[in-house]
Amino acid sequence: MKKAVLLAVLFCLALGLFAATAWAKDWKIATVVKDSTNPWFIRMEEGVKEFAADTGINAFQKGPNKCDVALQVQVIEDLIAQGVDALCVVPISPPALEPVLKKAMDKGIVVVTHEASNQRNTYYDIEAFDNNAYGAFIMDNLAKAMNYEGKYVTMVAYLTSRTHNEWAEAGIARQKEKYPNMELIPEEKVESEDNQETAYERAKELMKKYPDLKGIMGTSSNDAPGAAKAIEEMGKKGKVFTAGSSIVPVAEKFLENGTLDTITFWDPAKAAYAMNVLAKMILEGREDEIKTGLNLGVEGYENMTLKGKVLVGSGWIAVTKENMAEYDWF
């Protein structure tokens, strides 16, 4: 009996060793998203597929069919039961996922997260970019369109939208530091309610009040397109410029007719690819290489900054009329 147990243990050990070395490519890496029906995460899956094709690793994406944290926990539970080697998770709510991610880590599963800088039960969290750097980047684009001079204003969805306000404030800070010939009007931040019609109406009002207004910086995806529509309809094309965070399907018409100069965003597929590369590195035992300056071999994730458990990249993309066709993936 004792012999049998010992044999079994030895067998398991051998199998484990075997699996870890010779069959490295048999790793199963699951990417778990917030909502598998959301176009953003459908795009994300492209990155997972690309990673699987490039490495031959069994990498796949799973997610609940609606954005519901209880369902996301269930998806992760199922994957733990299936015996995956690594989980790349985009949590709906980081605190709600702590128990299930702890369970996964206790079982020896590698856990990597994305857009969850406050997650505790994770090896590393990847952020596409730092909000301050992104806001400054939007400002750089606007400043260029405005020829680095003139009055401008920023738009946010609501004064309570945290990221939008961080971007707007970082943009303003960048202007004060680098573009002395630009001037922020007293309105500073205008609310667009994340609604293109409202952004359009506010932009019209601003152009009436400030006939010499030259720039509008948008943060919600509807701001810059709404402002562009107002510029077009009021006949201010070439006199007023706008740039902001948006996505191609919303903005393409305005990029095409030249009322909208540049839109910026980040590519979820690249984030997924980066997460999978990171998970693979940890599985390979190359954790000592993970430090500031890390290159994950994905555009925008080539020179990452490590702060605690959070790895920050510079994974934004600027899209203009010229390259918009490449990014029409929603």
Partner: protein, 352 residues
């Protein structure tokens, strides 16, 4: 004259005039041709919605599903046209969207009329059903490549005004005529038809209306399907005005529209309300929300300002109603003259 100064509309009108003068003094930009055209344009969609809301409120109900109906109808109608590769007259877009809206309105109508369920609960439920259907089953997402007839119509303008001083211009879209047409239709129904009388009677006192021989089920069926129909049309109007279909675009607008209608003197408990008052209410809210920057109110204070004006406006009309009621009450004791007033009140105020 006395009648005029006693009406709620008169006071809303005064508030409205005071607001416009204040904006003019603050900015010197209100009474410019391009600004007035901008205001008329901004009134189109809330104006169309407000007509439906007026009918519902007058009948003693409340409907909060109309923006959801508008979104689902505009989204599915656009999708149908895209699949169909439709290139004909844009009127078809309105017919399809209106028909889908009517169908959705019928769902509300059946639940409310046959099962006599509270209107707020029914419409709250159907509203999230409609949105859920659009997001979950239709996988709604932004459509910026709208069908050609819609895109072409979105550029159609009745006229365009130029402001040389500012170097800007503004055009009034043709869809403005839809608002005008719907106002005339609703005014006619409320003012000159038995159905209109029935709507007021139902809101004034349901039991009395029933005893008086009004077919309550038929009236409710009409109201909620009519709201569905015009919401469908409003959705398509918005899609055409924006030249894109944005599935979250109208969400949250329902409360603003209801506030505007109540501001215009419509009683939230039913029985009272006029088209004139409603349009004034919509004008007031639209002008206000589109002039906060012109007035120079800091972004952080804009909500406070809007809220305060709504309270002042509704307070004024509520005060008017209270005064009238007291008069009626006092009058009753005096006999004949009072009973005349009472009678007038139960049959409801006229539609204009």
């Amino acid at each position: 004259m006395k009648k005029l100064t006693r009406s709620t509309e008169f006071y809303i009108f005064l508030v409205f005039i005071a607001l416009t003068i204040f904006i003019e003094i603050q900015s010197g930009q209100f009474f410019t041709s391009n600004n007035i055209v901008d205001m008329l344009r901004a009134m189109i969609v809330p104006g169309i919605f407000s007509i439906g809301v007026l009918m519902v409120l007058v009948s003693g109900g409340i409907d909060i599903s109309f923006t959801a109906i508008a979104l689902l109808s505009m989204y599915s109608a656009t999708k149908i046209l895209m699949i169909w590769n439709y290139e004909g007259n844009v009127i078809m877009a309105f017919i399809i969207s209106g028909a889908i809206g009517l169908l959705l309105g019928l769902i509300n109508a059946s639940l409310i009329a046959f099962y006599n369920l509270p209107t707020i609960i029914v419409t709250l439920g159907t509203s999230s059903m409609f949105i859920g259907f659009m997001q979950g089953i239709l996988h709604s997402r932004v459509i910026s490549d709208i069908p050609k007839p819609m895109l072409e119509f979105s550029r159609a303008e009745l006229f365009r005004v130029y402001n040389k001083e500012l170097g800007v211009s503004s055009g009034l879209p043709v869809v403005f005529l839809i608002l005008v047409a719907l106002i005339i239709i609703a005014w006619f129904i409320l003012r000159y038809t038995m159905l209109g009388r029935g709507i007021y009677a139902l809101g004034g006192d349901r039991t009395a209306a029933e005893r008086a021989g009004f077919n309550i089920i038929a009236i409710q069926f009409f109201i909620y399907s009519f709201v569905g129909l015009i919401s469908g049309i409003a959705g398509m109007t918005r899609a055409i005005m924006m030249a894109n279909v944005h599935p979250t675009n109208l969400m949250g607008m329902e409360l603003t529209v209801i506030a505007a209608v109540v501001l215009g003197g419509t009683s939230i408990t039913g029985g009272r309300g006029t088209i004139t008052g409603t349009l004034l209410g919509v004008a007031l809210i639209t002008v206000l929300s589109n002039s906060l920057i012109l007035m120079g109110i800091p972004t952080t204070w804009q909500k406070v300002f809007t809220g305060a004006l709504i309270i002042i406006g509704t307070g004024l009309s509520a005060y008017q109603t209270m005064k009238e009621k007291n008069k009626v009450h006092g009058g009753m004791k005096l006999g004949k003259k009072g009973s005349k007033e009472t009678q007038k009140n139960t049959t409801g105020s006229s539609a204009i």
